[in-house]
């Protein structure tokens, strides 16, 4: 049987809280952010996620996990949801839900994939599609804290209109010389696009990420195949496998 030598950190049980939609922001044609008021919310760290549970009038329930998009400094909790074809919950959250609607939520969950300003940098974030969500929470937290950690975000999207938080990321990068945003558009590039236009490969990472000698904190998030490919490439470039934190979102929804 388990023998506990010293008392582990006391933690509260995860219980279901009441979330109410306060605001809805359309991010891209398929992606919407919900700003929630969560009664009894105890705070979170950037990178954590929540479980939400919807209940239909006949009692039917569905549950999903979503990364928190907002930093701990914000009053409202933001979830950014991509509408997935045949996605029972995402079809509801993106397009059907209105301000005032309620559902249950529990969290924050997951202390492994987190970054706090105290952790410092250099910080290398690699996002594939909606994998940007927990990384955006980290960037927003970094911004709120006026962190000076040198940071690069490598963000892979299908096309320019699929880039979530585009304006906000551009604004962050333009006012902070220590932060860089590198977009790569894998399927469609606009006229005159000067940036990367291909899937992330070894050369792209070598050109953008901090080298292993600088011991960057690395976070990779997106569909599982994306995360595994990027992680493998980072290790090939000399990064310690344990220095690369990953958050796989599962099979691609595309």
């Amino acid at each position: 049987m388990m023998v506990i030598e010293t008392a582990p950190v006391a933690a509260r049980r995860l219980g279901w809280l009441l979330a109410e939609v306060r605001e809805i922001l359309v991010e891209t044609p398929r992606v919407t952010s919900l700003l929630l008021h969560v009664a009894g919310w105890q705070g979170h760290r950037a990178g954590q996620h929540v479980d939400i549970r919807l209940t239909a009038e006949d009692g039917y329930q569905a549950q999903r996990s979503y990364s928190v998009a907002s930093p701990p400094e914000d009053d409202l909790l933001a979830l950014t949801v991509e509408r997935v074809e045949n996605g029972e919950v995402s079809q509801y959250l993106v397009g059907h839900v209105s301000a005032g609607d309620q559902f249950q939520l529990r969290g924050p969950i997951g202390g492994y994939f987190v970054w706090t300003a105290a952790t410092g940098g250099p910080l290398c974030l690699v996002a594939g599609g909606s994998g940007i969500v927990p990384l955006m929470a980290m960037l927003r937290h970094r911004d709120r804290r006026s962190s000076r950690a040198p940071t690069v975000l490598v963000y892979s999207s299908r096309s320019l209109e699929d880039v979530i938080y585009r304006d906000e990321l551009d604004a962050m990068a333009s006012r902070d010389p220590r932060m860089r945003v590198v977009n790569t558009l894998t399927r469609k590039q606009p006229e005159g696009w000067m940036g990367y236009g291909r899937r992330i490969d070894r050369a792209l990472l070598a050109e953008t990420c901090f080298p292993p000698e600088q011991n960057p904190k690395i976070y990779v998030c997106g569909p599982t195949p994306f995360v595994e490919s990027v992680s493998r490439l980072l290790v090939e470039l000399g990064h310690n496998t344990r220095a690369v934190k990953t958050e796989r979102f599962g099979p691609s929804g595309a």
Partner: protein, 90 residues
């Protein structure tokens, strides 16, 4: 030969909700020592399989099952015969 790029794989971090129902504290930040090969990993970084049925957490080095968890209507199940040590920072 094993194909590790199965698209259904997640990270141990994704099992944090289920595990926190059992452990109360967040075990995904703990280090776990694989009983089969002796390597040590943060639980949240392990490869997580079968999330739809529970949580099967495998060693990143040898693929051995390190931890299993299932929630059933009749109780939670936990198995850690594949782990030698669990190390928490307190």
């Amino acid at each position: 030969m094993i194909d590790n790029s199965s698209s259904g794989v997640l990270d141990g971090n994704a099992a944090a909700g289920l595990l926190q129902e059992i452990f109360v504290l967040d075990v995904t930040t703990a280090q776990i020592e694989c009983a089969a090969c002796g390597s040590t990993w943060v639980v949240g970084s392990l490869r997580l399989y079968a999330i739809q049925m529970g949580a099967i957490l495998r060693c990143n080095h040898c693929d051995g099952v390190v931890m299993k968890a299932v929630r059933t209507p009749h109780g939670h199940w936990l198995e850690m015969t594949g782990a030698r040590n669990l190390i928490f920072q307190v």
